[in-house]
Symmetry: C2
Subunit: 227 residues, 2 copies
DNA sequence: GCAAAAGTGTTCAGATTACACCCATGG
DNA sequence: CCATGGGTGTAATCTGAACACTTTTGC
């Protein structure tokens, strides 16, 4: 139907973020195909014929981690003609948030992939370093107003772990008293009667995030800020 | 280099927004090519061989409006396999902010294009209605923290015009006293000694936006909210 | 002088900040 | 019994919303 103008390959690359022991980490892979085979790379794939970019990203996430139902959002599309020395390929980058514990518990994950702390990342191929920076910037924006912390933390977490996530993401300390008051002022953090004692003698209570309560609040047009 | 997987056409479509007489408007065009020739459509083009999406969007904006140096930002990439009945085409949507007065003053604009008020838009082809909705949502988000109002208003404007922009974008009224206090609390709105008398007998002072001052403020990590 | 838009001041409630303080417990 | 991290209370300050008010000018 259309005149024969440029046709290109479409890729999707995923910036996969998780938090472990208070440190933000990124899942990358030793690139399995040329060019630049065996160099560190984001995990990606080419778009299939009957597939949206979102579906392709979910497909590659499943093959990399064995997990479904992952938080996934389109980030930006990278189109520089020389970005991939293997040919003209544009890449629709997505970012994904993962509970690393779930990842470790899952057997069907891909070999050759590895979690790196953000401040210890190897050089990535192509423009993947840019993608990571853009993803982190977007994550910082989004985390101020959206409950994405709970996509990374495990189901039950302490308030200190929650605070650690924000401190790690924004690279700054927050006052504990004020932080607790703020997040507890909303009702969607539900205190359980379980205590965990791995960081103190007193032990600290576990909380869980109640999505229903959050969404009800949100629908009432409340301004909900996390930080 | 890569195996022969799917190659597709890449398009870019522009959501071109302006404000005129207190009303937000969108620039659309009677589609010049089949399929759906002569139906209302966003203005777009196919990506050239040695071109980024950003460059292609600027190219199509120039041909549509005769203007360069337009505020342009990537919005989202639309990839549904059936989105274009003419073939598999993915579209990298951008949104652009225009001073409509500049547009009218310019002779080299494309014929067949037309400004519609947002609440009077005709049905657009393909998924272009979705694109418009997504663009407006993003604009609303962005306008809270970024000085994009000044990309739409002319160089000199009254505070009432500025307020009108926000009232139009968010479809709600703001208290004039509080609005003025807020925007004037930052120093980047510079009062001139010119008055304009087309809406009142008293007349109202014109202000201009000083980008340098804004950027200096911003670099000092101030939290700058517009609304 | 008066209507009408431009522009200012005052008040009060709620949020934010800084910081001092209490609590529980394993060693 | 005390060091340590968990958890709470409070006063000072800042911000935002509401609304009453003054100013200027053409008719």
């Amino acid at each position: 139907m259309y005149p024969q103008v440029l046709k290109t390959l479409i890729a999707t690359d995923c910036i996969i973020v998780g938090i472990e022991e208070g440190t933000l980490k990124l899942l990358v892979i030793k690139r399995p195909i040329p060019p630049l085979k065996d160099r560190w790379s984001l995990i990606g794939t080419f778009l299939g014929i009957e597939e949206t970019a979102h579906q392709a990203a979910h497909r590659v996430l499943y093959s990399a981690t064995g997990l479904n139902n992952i938080y996934l959002d389109q980030l930006h599309t990278y189109t520089r003609p020389d970005r991939d020395p293997g040919g003209r390929v544009i890449s629709i980058a997505h970012f994904a948030l993962i509970r690393i514990a779930d990842y470790h518990n899952n057997s069907s994950k891909q070999v050759g992939s590895k979690w790196f702390a953000l401040n210890d990342l190897p050089k990535l191929i192509f423009d993947h370093d840019n993608m990571v920076n853009d993803a982190l910037a977007k994550l910082r924006e989004r985390a101020k107003f959206n409950p994405i912390a709970f996509e990374l933390l495990s189901e039950y977490f302490t308030l200190k772990q929650l605070q650690n996530f924000y401190e790690e993401l924004y690279q700054q300390k927050f006052d504990t008293a004020n932080f607790r008051k703020k997040v507890l002022s909303y009702s969607f953090l539900v205190k359980t009667n379980k205590k965990v004692k791995d960081t103190s003698k007193k032990g600290s209570f576990l909380y869980r995030y109640d999505r229903k309560i959050y969404e009800e609040l949100r629908s009432k047009e409340f301004k909900i800020r996390f930080i």
